[in-house]
Symmetry: C2
Subunit: 152 residues, 2 copies
């Protein structure tokens, strides 16, 4: 399926795992995000980070989530008539993301059911997974999304 | 307690609700965040947003969370020896945050217990709540944090 085709609820199958792309976390970008939103020493100060438990600068967990959201938009949400999300569950920051790490994002379909209230919509529960260049899972979260059903 | 005093696990009492500060979401700031991380039309395009279900530009849910994290850093995390968080639960985007809305953040202590593995640490489960200028709850999330215990 090409990346500019519209996605419908019928396009999601439980168990499907789809790669969404990857992002390399540059030190300056990590610092810029964390200065605004998560100014802990090991996120904003390379010297303090070196002496910390983590041994070097690591990305804010909210930054790895925000990049995941960008991947979800580019791969799914902006290819559908999604009316937004009520929330997410089980956000897990499993391993640190260090400066220069390349994180690959993928999405696993966990559940799918038609909407009870809207016959033209269906619900999909998925897990977003982030994996580093060594194959270690660094972050996951889960949530329901709403997608239009294929007409006809 | 002054805002630059060190916080220990003993300073948290179940049921405590503490105001953390407020933030007014300016339109351009909302667009800047969403262009990077959540480029859905109702987050980045005031004209498209006006025609959307929301009737105007709204902030990315990740943006309201990221600002909450900043408040948590300023009020708690950077006043303690917190070694980071394993994750969060029950992120709920309950109401839209519109351009110009002033969101007040507060933190409620839900549970507290000493660490089993580290005698010098204690755990605190809290809910972060975001409320708009009309008193409507717009966002909540929950999570465990680790804090050092008061010496002696």
């Amino acid at each position: 399926m090409s990346a500019d085709e519209i996605l419908y609820w019928e396009d999601f199958t439980v168990g499907d795992t789809v790669a969404m792309g990857s992002h390399t976390f540059a030190e300056q970008e990590m610092i810029d995000f964390a200065r605004k939103f998560d100014p802990q020493p090991f996120h904003i100060d390379p010297v303090a980070a070196k002496d910390s438990y983590f041994g070097g600068l690591i990305a804010s967990g909210w930054h790895t989530c925000a990049v995941a959201m960008r991947m979800l938009c580019d791969n799914y949400i902006n290819r559908s008539a999604s009316p937004g999300s009520p929330g997410i569950e089980n956000v897990r920051w499993l391993k640190p993301v260090h400066a220069g790490d390349t994180i690959s994002y993928r999405r696993v379909v966990l559940e799918a059911r038609p909407s009870n209230s809207r016959r033209d919509m269906g619900l999909v529960k998925s897990r977003t997974e982030a994996v580093n260049q060594s194959g270690e899972m660094v972050m996951t979260f889960e949530g329901w999304g709403m997608f239009g059903r294929r007409p006809g």
